[in-house]
């Protein structure tokens, strides 16, 4: 009984400490983000490369998934809306489902699987190979040069790809709106635009920014936890990705609370 209580206490302390350290690191990054001295030719080049690797390279796969998944889902959603006689709520349902919930969630899952794991492994390898020491010795700030561009890239990529996903899926909805409800392009566009709620869009944007911020920040933090041992690399990636998943769920729940209060 006492051992169980001790275990609960220790776990709570560790979780709280991890949460506190993550927020502290996030605060450091945010301060650097709004400091113009953090940016120079080297960091700008890294930002451009990171955006290319995260957003551009993934585009063919992303477009394919968006069209296939989006088209199937839209077909099912439209059919359900018709069967339940909820045609007058079509716009609102689509905007809430696609723009506010589905687009950020699918985008962040794809980027987390691809880029977060890569960032985590990259930082862990650099730690093990003492390349972070090299940057330090040459007086190159690791936060400015390595971490900040990756976090900025995360935010930009999730926001842009999420918007792109929304556009692709809503465009594929045009096909079903014509087949099932006989709506023209103009009518369909009017339905969507009139249902667009400024508050929901702001929440969606903040959610995308938070997603992008934490799915890059957390892997960086866990990458730095690697020791001098090569075997610490997969452990840091494993722990980092679990934490990324927890962060995604946490942010999603928080946004749902904000939208529906």
């Amino acid at each position: 009984m006492i051992n169980a209580i001790v275990r609960i206490g220790t776990t709570t302390i560790n979780v709280t400490r991890t949460f506190r350290d993550t927020l502290s690191f996030a605060f450091t990054i945010i301060l650097k983000m709004f400091n113009k001295n953090s940016y120079n030719s080297a960091t700008r080049l890294v930002i451009i490369h990171q955006i290319y690797f995260t957003s551009i390279q993934i585009l063919p796969l992303f477009i394919g998934i968006s069209i296939i998944f989006g088209t199937l889902l839209m077909g099912i959603v439209f059919q359900i809306i018709k069967n339940l006689g909820l045609a007058e709520h079509l716009g609102r349902i689509l905007m809430n489902l696609v723009v506010t919930e589905l687009a950020p969630f699918v985008t962040v899952l794809l980027i987390a699987l691809r880029s977060s794991s890569a960032i985590n492994a990259e930082i862990a390898v650099m730690k093990v190979n003492k390349e972070l020491n090299t940057l330090d010795k040459f007086n190159i700030g690791t936060v400015d040069y390595l971490f900040l561009p990756r976090v900025i890239n995360g935010v930009i990529s999730v926001v842009l790809l999420s918007a792109f996903f929304s556009i692709l899926v809503l465009t594929s909805g045009l096909l079903f709106s014509k087949l099932l409800f006989g709506l023209s392009l103009e009518s369909y566009s009017n339905v969507l635009l009139s249902s667009a709620n400024f508050y929901d869009i702001v929440i969606s944007l903040i959610k995308c920014c938070a997603f992008g911020f934490f799915i890059t920040l957390i892997p960086i933090r866990f990458g730095l936890h690697a020791t001098n041992d090569l075997t610490s690399i997969p452990i840091s990636v494993l722990n980092g990705m679990v934490d990324v998943f927890i962060a995604i769920v946490f942010i999603e729940v928080l946004s749902l609370i904000l939208i529906f209060i």
Binding site: N40, L45, E122, M126, N129, T134, L135, I140, Y145
Partner: protein, 122 residues
Amino acid sequence: MPLISNLDVWVNIALIKQYHENLSADKAQELVIRYLTGYGMEHISNKRNPALTNRERFCAMLLRAAMVRDSIVVIDRPFTIIPDVQDDRFIYDSLKAVDDSFKECHIFDYLWSKDRYRMIGL
């Protein structure tokens, strides 16, 4: 100090100028290629660390150190970086090619390697 393994050689070297002096990527790359050409190693500019030979790696690391303004270059046991080299001729020639870029150079090595330093002298 090891090269950054996920950066090309030219980026490893140019990073110093780009970060500290805010030199543009194009100008920094041009500068690096010029120095690499002096070594006859312009072909390594787009290679990464694992693809380099020992001599190429030594020159890349030396150039990177020399990029720091008013640098004092410290080479710790150079023959561990280039084990296939028997004497200091390669080291001397490499330093000579960039001697306008650094202030001083100090080489640290074991006493038993003293006979390998004929050109640099002790």
